[in-house]
């Protein structure tokens, strides 16, 4: 079976790749584009560790075919910091010690960023339900929720 040629935008850069029809966007990000920030925790869309934005929409990249990304824009955790400057969410996750092993952190960051773009002033409950698709086994979520609420407040103030 021949490969599919795809042109897309990842974190602002135009990229091209050849992929198998069965390859997922997560496979291509990790194995062809060397962007290993998105993680494979389950490959069934249950854990959220592979979260990316596709045309501004939060998706599990393990459930998107790589061929579907053609002509769209993909945003991953690698695109969040600008040069030396971390995104406020990244700073707040560190400040609140809202990670232990850190493997869910890229997905949480991408998901939280998508939330705050939609809803800059979420309640605790809204943050909890938005992040319900991002599993974290280490923290019990407490510090993650606080970090996101704190980041939202700071972003509104900025």
């Amino acid at each position: 079976m021949s490969k599919i040629h795809v042109t897309t935008t990842v974190n602002g850069d135009t990229v091209e790749y050849l992929c198998e029809p069965t390859e997922t966007l997560l496979d291509v990000l990790r194995d062809r584009l060397n962007l290993t920030g998105a993680k494979e925790g389950c490959s069934t869309g249950d854990c959220g560790a592979c979260s990316v934005e596709l045309d501004g929409r939060l998706v599990s990249s393990c459930l998107v075919l790589a061929a579907e990304a053609g002509g769209k824009t993909v945003a991953t955790v690698e695109g969040m910091a600008k040069g030396e400057n971390l995104h406020i969410l990244q700073e707040k996750i560190l400040e609140h010690a809202a990670l232990q092993c850190g493997v869910c952190t890229p997905g949480i960051l991408v998901a939280a960023k998508a939330l705050l773009a939609k809803n800059p002033d979420p309640t605790e409950e809204e943050v909890r339900f938005w992040l319900a698709g991002n599993l974290c086994r280490c923290t019990g979520y407490d510090k993650i929720i606080r970090a996101v609420l704190d980041a939202a407040a700071e972003m509104r103030g900025a």
Partner: protein, 749 residues
């Protein structure tokens, strides 16, 4: 005097107790941190495992000829490609990685393939022809102990097994003291209950993964996500017939372990494929493989009988615990029997335990292994007694609490322990007095874990600019590089950001026991503090040499050498920076090191309070409020101590309410995925409040006790007690899923 002060420090800390950012933080929030599956190397192959679809079968033959003809395939391995082991435990671990003669559970590895792509490897694995002779199977504790149960392996039982047990029963233990029968006679009320708990999985988000390469000269390289790279080496080297020092194991960042990554699964297989193919081989488990073939906990069936006087004094306590730990003998039962009554000061206590083999994957440690399911049963009965006698459950626990001088139920006499202080903190907390609404209940439970010490090595290098590089040998699963840097900075008297701590590979730092037993901040802490003292000794010597005075006349204060007093001479302080800058002129590079073999880890107690609301229509339980009280000895980085308390509590909430391994009558795991094996998500939970107590551990220079494991112990009973009070019916089985709670509500009529 000075010496004592120097060896024990419990106040006046400058860095310990603050909350600096962790040294690996930037990598982890930017996606740059490399976990097990994130490494790729040139010319790498991919491995895939063929797993048994049968819970119990004899492997008659394996024919890999068709698989070897498939495109891209470079090697196939089976159990025949590994060395036979002399010790049972080693052979069992190897047999769990790759079935030898018998497939013992659904998902048991039977063969593995390496090919150019993962897809090719998976397609080839499916072409391996295995002829099985299917055997009868058993997956539940109570069934496996029956006289006519299918037997997994005969001849594996210890000699002390009481008569009347079948050959699946491998281990038997007894702990306790006094005369329980006499004690029960003194009781005003006796409650006797039978409990069951389901097996749960550690549920780390990062699946097991590694990259292996091997040369024909017997040298190997292994990159792996693990809690202990020396442990990985010490299993894999003999499995492959290698010399230990020729196999260098490098730990990746680890995406959660919780005990589950304290053994090997893929690692020896990847090495064997690399050896046979002559190429590097990467292996990554799917989530389904993680559930089917990496270690879950034991499941349990336990009878508890406790007698109490009208005023709440326990007169006698007895537990009969039966654990299944999967398809091989398993010693976790001893930890269950030892911990069951550890929170109490009892005159008459007895804990008996049996381990039984079943057709399930080999049990692996999970945070305080063996303790949560044991303490759950005891704390449930103590609560029921309190309720029936009209007593405050917290006062009853205070009345019977273990304290300094208590002869523990498992033998040793406790020294400085913090249970009473922890209970008092709970009693005085506003949570304990907050009003409850209809269908709501409050639960309490104590928890206990031993904590371990053991062996760890630390090297501390002073760079020419006076900054410090610490190398240690324990994978960092929860922020330990931060706490180790803090302890080094504290001891040296320099700022935290002048220290960088890394985890070295097996050939770059001395032996270190696995990151488990809540031992890292304790033991690596001791090694770090002593390595810093070793470096200080060297630096004082250098200053003495420059000043031309005796080494004993130099003291170390605030990151600088100073003359000990006017008699020693008049010299301005010589800073670490200055000593480091001149090091090559005064005797060469400056380093300190220490290889710890530590004891005195200091047991840890916790108390959890939880409020729940049970929906009488659906049986659904909502957690309304949760507070964790725990003795940390000394919290080096309080935010990460809180993180351990919160994370353990939430894992316990999952265990209590949702999580369970479900085997069908066909012996196959029914729910090997996060959709059907449901771990807690953010919307299931409230904030988890924490209260850290600091009752210094005399065994650590700063008073540290391990904090990682105790927090998973109390939630099971705390929630069960809350649900039982909210629904006004005693729940005796975990998880308390809505159908189970609803059935209990309906049964009471």
């Amino acid at each position: 005097m000075n010496m004592t002060k120097r060896l024990r420090k419990t106040e006046g800390f400058k860095i310990v107790g603050t909350r600096p950012q962790r040294p690996d933080g930037i990598e982890k929030v930017t996606g740059r941190a490399l976990y097990g599956a994130d490494l790729s190397v040139p010319d790498m192959l991919h491995g895939a495992v063929l797993r048994s679809p049968h819970p119990h079968a004899r492997i008659v033959s394996i024919d890999a000829s068709a698989a070897l003809e498939m495109p891209g395939v470079r090697a196939v391995v089976t159990s025949a490609d590994f060395k036979k082991q002399a010790k049972f435990f080693m052979q069992d671990t190897l047999d769990n990685c790759m079935a030898r003669d018998f497939a013992l559970y659904d998902g048991h590895a039977v063969a593995a393939v390496a090919a150019k792509t993962r897809k090719q490897a998976e397609e080839a694995a499916a072409k391996i022809r295995v002829e099985y002779e299917i055997l009868p199977h058993v997956t539940e504790v109570e069934d496996a102990m029956k006289p006519d149960a299918p037997i997994l392996h005969a001849g594996r039982s210890y000699r002390n097994i009481p008569e009347g047990n079948n050959a699946n029963v491998t281990n038997y233990v007894e702990f306790g003291h006094g005369d329980v029968e006499a004690g029960f006679k003194d009781a005003d009320l006796i409650v006797e209950r039978s409990f069951k708990t389901a097996a749960t999985h550690q549920g780390y988000i990062e699946p097991n993964a590694c990259v292996a390469s091997m040369g024909p000269d017997g040298r190997g390289e292994l990159w792996v996500t693990t809690q202990g790279h020396y442990m990985v080496r010490d299993f894999c080297a003999p499995f492959l017939g290698l010399e230990e020092s020729k196999l260098r194991v490098t730990p990746s960042e680890i995406g959660g372990g919780f005990g589950g990554k304290t053994t090997v699964f893929l690692e020896p297989v990847a090495l064997a494929l690399a050896q046979k193919s002559g190429k590097p081989v990467k292996m990554v488990m799917s989530r389904e493989e993680v559930f089917r073939a990496s270690g879950p906990t034991v499941s349990s069936w336990t009878d508890v009988k406790i007698g109490m006087t009208r005023d709440g004094k326990i007169t006698a306590a007895q537990a009969k615990l039966r654990y299944q730990g999967g398809a091989f003998p398993c010693g976790t039962i001893a930890l269950g029997a030892m911990t069951a009554f550890a929170a109490y000061d009892l005159e008459n206590v007895q804990a008996l335990g049996w381990n039984v083999m079943t057709n399930r994957p080999m049990q692996a440690s999970y945070r305080a292994p063996g303790a949560p399911m044991a303490i759950y049963t005891v704390e449930s009965v103590v609560d029921e007694l309190s309720q029936k006698l009209g007593l405050d459950p917290l006062e009853v626990r205070l009345k019977n609490a273990a304290k300094k001088g208590t002869k523990s139920s498992y033998g040793p006499t406790f020294s400085d322990i913090g249970l009473v202080a922890t209970l008092e903190a709970a009693k005085n907390h506003p949570h304990y007095r907050a009003p409850l609404g209809p269908n709501q209940g409050r639960g309490i439970s104590c928890g206990f874990w031993f904590n371990f010490g053991g062996n760890s090595s630390v090297s501390l290098h002073v760079s020419p600019d006076g900054t410090v590089a610490v190398t240690e040998g324990n994978p960092d699963i929860g922020g330990s590089r931060a706490s180790i840097s803090m302890m080094a900075a504290e001891e040296l008297g320099i700022p935290y950001d002048k220290v960088r701590t890394i985890v070295g590979d097996t050939n770059s730092i001395g032996y270190s026991d696995t990151t488990d037993g809540s031992r890292v901040t304790f033991t690596v802490g001791i090694a770090t503090i002593k390595a810093a003292r070793d470096a200080i000794r060297v630096m004082k010597g250098r200053a003495a040499k420059v000043w031309g005075i005796d080494e004993d006349a130099v003291i170390w204060e605030d990151g600088a050498a100073k003359p000990s007093g006017p008699n020693a001479g008049e010299f301005p302080p010589m800073t670490m920076e200055e000593i480091a800058r001149n090091a090559f002129k005064t005797g060469g590079p400056i380093a300190g090191h220490y290889e710890a073999n530590s004891d005195g880890a200091g047991v840890s107690f916790g108390v959890h309070l939880v409020d729940v609301e049970v929906d009488p229509e659906t049986g659904f339980t909502k957690i309304l409020r949760y507070t964790v009280f725990q003795d940390a000895g000394k919290a080096i980085h309080p935010a990460y101590v809180e993180g351990q308390m919160q994370g353990g509590a939430v894992q316990g909430i999952g265990w209590a309410l949702n999580e369970e391994y479900i085997y069908g009558a066909d012996g196959r795991l029914q729910n090997p995925g996060f959709l059907d094996y449901r771990i807690p998500v953010a919307s299931d939970l409230p904030m988890i409040d924490t209260v850290i107590l600091e009752i210094p551990n005399p065994g650590h220079p700063y008073g540290v006790r391990g904090v990682g494991e105790t927090s998973i112990v109390p939630p099971l009973a705390a929630i069960s007690n809350a649900v039982s009070r909210a629904a006004d019916v005693r729940l005796c089985e975990l998880p308390m899923s809505p159908p189970r709670v609803l059935a209990a509500i309906d049964a009471k009529g």
